[in-house]
Every structure is written in structure tokens, then in C-alpha cells.
Subunit: 306 residues, 2 copies
Amino acid sequence: MIYQRVALIGLGLIASSMAHAMRAGGLAGEIVGYAQSPETRAVAKELFCDRVTASAAEAVQGADLVVLAVPVGAMGAIAAEIGPHLKPGATVTDVGSVKQAVVDAVAPHLPEGVHFIPGHPMAGTEYSGPRSGFATLYQNRWWLLTPPEGCDPKALARLRSLIEGMGAKVDLLEVGHHDLVVAVVSHVPHAIAYTMVGVADHMRRVSQSEVIKYSAAGFRDFTRIAASDPTMWRDVFLTNKDAVLDILGRFAEELFVLQRAIRMGDGEHLHAYFTRTREIRRGIIEAGQDTAAPDFGRVAPAPKGG
Amino acid sequence: MIYQRVALIGLGLIASSMAHAMRAGGLAGEIVGYAQSPETRAVAKELFCDRVTASAAEAVQGADLVVLAVPVGAMGAIAAEIGPHLKPGATVTDVGSVKQAVVDAVAPHLPEGVHFIPGHPMAGTEYSGPRSGFATLYQNRWWLLTPPEGCDPKALARLRSLIEGMGAKVDLLEVGHHDLVVAVVSHVPHAIAYTMVGVADHMRRVSQSEVIKYSAAGFRDFTRIAASDPTMWRDVFLTNKDAVLDILGRFAEELFVLQRAIRMGDGEHLHAYFTRTREIRRGIIEAGQDTAAPDFGRVAPAPKGG
């Protein structure tokens, strides 16, 4: 057992998968949960929490580890609420996909003697909610931590043990660097997919029904990316604005170079460019982040019925 | 039986799948094949052709249907070679993913009395070559035809029967409209995916190894798209230049609007935009062009060993 009592604030896919994984590994003595919705709390009580509470403040009382698993835009208010109720020496972490904004929103509300270690589990499925969690979600996935300077080494080692106990691989990154990396690998690709689908949406000469009817690989993959949760993605773009604008700017430059090569009919440039981008794909498959198999290794269990 | 003799010029995934499908349905009396490489011809003879020939001119002699299944950039030279050897009354079709460029390259070389009906089967897998074909590739996929004005209705009906006999659904489109639709659903999404992977490739501040290491949904999907065959895609961009530049221009405008909303922190705009793009995804699943299942329905048989 690594923590006597763990409090989960927010009870969706990420938190419920943590609860299942902690339970499977015997990593936590008691798992206490809080979510805004009474229905969610009832499901959590039934499926994976020892106890649920009617407020976040109550949930964190006496907890050795507090996990903030709410949307990034809601972290500040939750931190303000729980700050006065945290146990001295407790560790607070979060699971937001943006880190600087979370640090800015949360850190000012935490008292001296509480260890704040922001985190980002890079795992998910196309499902959400308290019924969608499962114990193996984090198996062999990256879980990035961005500990502040002067972070207590013991608190960090303990959190790391918990995460590794759930099957994930831990890496430490500086906050700003984290936000830039995720802008490249996730945020800007989503912005671009949303944009391409938007272009198709209001084409006048090509009717929407034809675009849908003949939808081919390429566009179809974009619509899958662009079907993600609007609230979560709005928060991502508003809170990781600087890194996203930086990478979007580079993307626009690069696109204009490609566009010019097409306009000029520069076949040599195009062929060389397309050959280079292939290499990156090979690297990703070798790094074990994707598979060349036809189903792309993406088999997520469906949410538990209820 | 729909055609007594069919000549396949080019013997890759598309042509070999046609041969298997025609054989399975008893649609062709004799299937003759030609490809530049002697190895490819030997495999075709072994797996799906009744006869292979040492030249395209020889292959088309006496054929009722000639299928041009070579890269778009190679169609003109092949047409010039076979033109004088075509049987009067024969039908010539092709399988290129761009249509105006094929019409411009091929039509001038075909004699009077030969029916030219350009086509585009919207089907494929991640494999290529003569061993990659299978009889069910076209099952329930779209096969677009762009018959010229004044096209012989009997010749068109006959080709249509063959295609439907292989399990595909036929639609007729005007040439320019076809090229615009495929620019939206396939060509520009590929250009964008190549560009995003290119941005990641030469980021200085974010090392390539980190981008690969933490590659998440979004970027990972882009690298899959951007791993397509460089020669085929060079030809696509060079030959569908006008439509691609048109859609790329619209895309750039749209991207700048999104970029401004992010810069301004306009959460309402972002949320509304992301909600709208979700609808298109729903439409595609309802139209049967993709599936919501975790493996996305993409199970292609691996190439036959040899």
C-alpha cells in the first residue's frame, strides 16, 4: 500500500480508471470520491469508491493524496475550496493535459507543507464518464510529471511508485516544455482537424452530402479527431494559448512552402518532403506508441452498462 | 460473363483485386495482364491472370475492356502506346484518383469508335503490389465514373454491370466536380497531415525523440496518413493542382479565423465551432463510410506470401 487514503476530485474516465488500477494493485487503503453530479457519485460508490462525499472539501480531509481530475478550467475554484482542508504533508496532483495554466490556478491556494506535483497521464479512450474506467488504461502509457523546483524528493518518489504501480511509465518535464510538446503532438493536430472539417462543412460548390458520401481515408480520420469533446478542447486552447499559437504559426509557414511547391509543380521537392515524413511514422511504430496492425491496436472496452 | 477479354495494364493492389473479383463473379472470359516488371508479371500469372504479355500493346489486342491501373503520371505514355492496337468498339477505363489530368493525357491518343470512360474506385488498403489484391476489396465501396458528354449508353451500362458485379456502388460525376470533391475528402487532408509531421520534424526546441516518444492521438493519426506512398502523392498534387490549391486557400482562411479566436480567448466561438464539426462525424458514421467501433472496421488481409 502506497497511500492510506486517496481522494479523487472529479470521477470520469481518468479518475475511475485510477481507482480500478489502485484497487487491482492494492495501492491505496481507502478511495474517497467527489463529483459535482449526484448521479456520478452514486455510480462511483457502486463501482469503485469506498466512500463518496457531498463536497470536495469533505473528500480531501485526512487524505494523503488528492487527485484533481476535473476540466482544466475548473481547477482553480476546486483548489480554493480544498486548500484550507488539506492534511499537512499531503500530496496534491492533477491530470490536466495543460500544465502551466494548472500551476497558475492551483498553486496559490495550497498551504505551506502540502506537496503539489502536477501530472498528465497520456491515455484515454473515446468514452467518458464514471462507467468508462478500467484497470489497465495506464498499462505501458506515459504519465508525465512536472514537479516544481525544490519539490520534496520523498513525496515525488511516492507518487511515482503509485503511478508505476498502475502500470504507467513516468517521465519528468519542465512545465513550459511539457506544454510545447503536447501542443505539437496533440493540440495543434486537433486544431487542424477541426479546421479541415469546418472547411468541408461550408463548402458551397461541393455539397456536404457528397463530402460525407465519398468520405475517404484522410478526411474520415480528421472527422474522428474532430469529434472530441468540445468543452475539453475549448479549455485546452484557451489555457495552452501561447504554445498552440507558436506551433500554429510554424504550421502556417510550412503549409505555404508546400502550397508553393504544388503551385510551381516542383515534383522533386514534394517527393523528398513526403519521403522524409515517412521516417517519423517508422519511429513512432518502433517507439511502441502505435502499431502497424490493421486495427491499430485500439481496442477499448465499452462502458459498463447501467 | 460481361466482357470476353479484359486487359489490365498495371498489376498492383487495384488491378489484382479486380482480377480476383472478376474471377469470383465469373465476369470476364479471359484476363490478360501487363506490368513493367517481369517479377510482377510472374506473380500475376501465378495468382490471377490467364495470360501476361511483354508489352502493353500486346495485352490490349482483342480486349473488350482495357483498364489503365498505372500511376496518373504514367497514363499518357501508356495511352500513346496502346492507342493503335485497341479493338474497335472496345471500352477503355482507368482507376486514377484524379480525373481531369487523366482525360487530358489519355483521350487524345484513343481512336474513334473506342469508348473512354474514366473511373475512380474509392477503396484501398495499406498494402500494395500484385500479392496484395483480394476479391472483396470493392464490396460496398464507391466507384466513381466520369463519362464524357455523348458517352455511349450501352458501353457505360456494361462497365457499370462489371463494377457492380464486383460489389461496388457506382455514381456518375462531372470530371471537374470529381476532382474538387476528392481534393476535400482526401488530397488536402493528406497535404495537411504531411505538413504537420514536417513541422514536428524540424522543431528545434522540441526534440524529435520527445515528439515520437509522447506521440498521442492526433499526431499519431497524422503520421499514419503521412506515411502513404510518396510517388503516388507527388502525382496527385501535381495533377490535381487547381482543386488542391483552391481548397488549401479556404483551409488557410479558416485556420486564421480559429487562430484569432484562440488569440482573443473567444471560448464561445471555439465551443460552437467544435460542436458543429461533431455533426459531420455523425453523418459519416450514419452514411456507413466509417464505424464507431474501436478497431474502426479496418481489417485488411495481409499480402499473400511468396
